[in-house]
Amino acid sequence: MTRIILRRLLMLLFVTAGVTVICFVISRLIPGDPAQLMLGPRATPQAIAELRTRLGLDQPIVTQYLAYVSDLIRGDFGTSIMTRQPVLAELLGYIPATLELMLLAMVLSIAIGVPLGVVTAVRRDTWVDNLGRGLAILGISTPTFWLGLMLMLLFYAQLGWLPGSGRLDIGVSPPPHVTGLYLVDAALAGDSLAWRSAFNHLLLPASTLALASIGTVVRLIRSSMIEVLGEDYIRTARAYGISRGRLLFVYALKNALIPFVTVLGLELAALLFGSVVIESVFAWPGVGNHVLAAILNLDFPVIMGFTVLASVVYVAANLLVDLSYLVLDPRIQAVG
């Protein structure tokens, strides 16, 4: 077991190194001189030359890369051109809003996608199955940004049931900062008004993100449930007279969920990019919206900082997924 974990950690190191190389290469693809970009069009040649030396741009490329990595390790992601603030601190400040959105989206997509996947597997080739699969195909074929606009059009503009932008109603003050997640903070402070307002604001963007991944969840749960339901131990359990509900949701689903954990890890990539798109649709003050502003202003330190951060989080999350297999599936331990 320790050997597997060690091997995975080694792999993590290798992949993270690869990630930094890729990000470094991308940041060197940016047309024009970074020093010129940072100082703006009216900078004197002398100021540019000074900054080039300070940034180490006159050093050999390998030295530049090593400097880049050592900066990253020290948490120095550079300075935003738009705001002149340190990139990392700024990004971290936006993370709670994005995290809250992603967490609710994940909860929604599991709460809806898993039962739907089970039902379509059990009622295979009936109208329920066809409907479920049709919806799943639609789900993976629908652009998230468009879905967000449609939900906004329907539930905000037409029906007026839910707010269309921001995190709180005007006039509602944010709960005292503990975690930065308004739902948690408001609950801790016992502020039911802020909690309800925060929840209402979360519903549309989180549902949009969730709907985008439900299709994948349904398709995966369906196929792995079908496989598991055909196994001998299920037939044995059925012969023992175990109730249908228990059979499905305890005996079968437990094993069908194993490949699903991997997908959760991979879905994180969709959520990370989805947050950029969805936050801009719903004016959600999170990381994604900040990055979008950076894109429009060609603020490369922010864009690259986000890319490095998102990549490292993603790699680490998938490492956790791999390790969770060891707990979920004893067969892997035995082979290890």
Partner: protein
Amino acid sequence: MKPISIAATLPLALRTPLTLAAAAVAAVVCFVALFAPWLTPYAPNAMDLNSVLQPPSWKHWAGTDELGRDLLTRIFHGARPSVSAALGIVGIGTAFGLLIGTLSGLLAGWFDTVVMRLTDVVMALPGMVVALALTAALGPSLFNAVVALGVLAVPAYIRVARGQALALREREYVLAARSMGASTWHLMRAHVLPNVLPPVLVFMTFHLGASILASSALSFIGLGAQPPDAEWGSMIGAGREYVLGHWWYVTIPGVVIILTASSFNLLGDALRDWLDPRLARDKA
């Protein structure tokens, strides 16, 4: 496998009404992309400030935008960049992935190890986020978005092709050809590539659907197609400011994207069942 006998079963693959409908939609989209200029009486960038933001009518079937441009015309013309972007992304992925993947599986050894570790790194990245950074770095344009998305898709194709080639490597007829002195190039072209193609073809079909979504998403946030060019994603991006009160502006291009992407996804399903009848039987 004999290509002719497989081709003879093509009508079987198109048997279900849903697959037939998907094939029809895909055909219509390609037709529209090819013949866009002759399908409507308007030019895609012709402004008419006397009829801005008009709802759908007999004169403008899909309404007009904030500059009075005919939206149906722009949707038709938008099929060109949207479809060719998807084809470009899939093309880059296939060209490099098929070649490197097949070679990697066939040669095995150190080449295979290096290729696999490199694909591990790229596939460990959140693809769309990196595509976003890469496109921003190359400069916002649809061409650069296609290059970024295409390059990032190569490892997935490598995996598909390599897995298949690795399995074929030990087959008797390949071993026989090798023992008779066939060169690696000949082995690849005559014996391995034709049999690597089917799973790659299935992957390509699904990837077409995903690529339409990916390139339109980059265009939506301003990194892909640039104004005034008509492209489905950037049309929705431009229309979002007017979404309240002018439903048709963003709704119709979105429906077109969904129809196109889902038709490719359905065709991918059908193609997979056709090339791998085992799955189709499982389903029945």
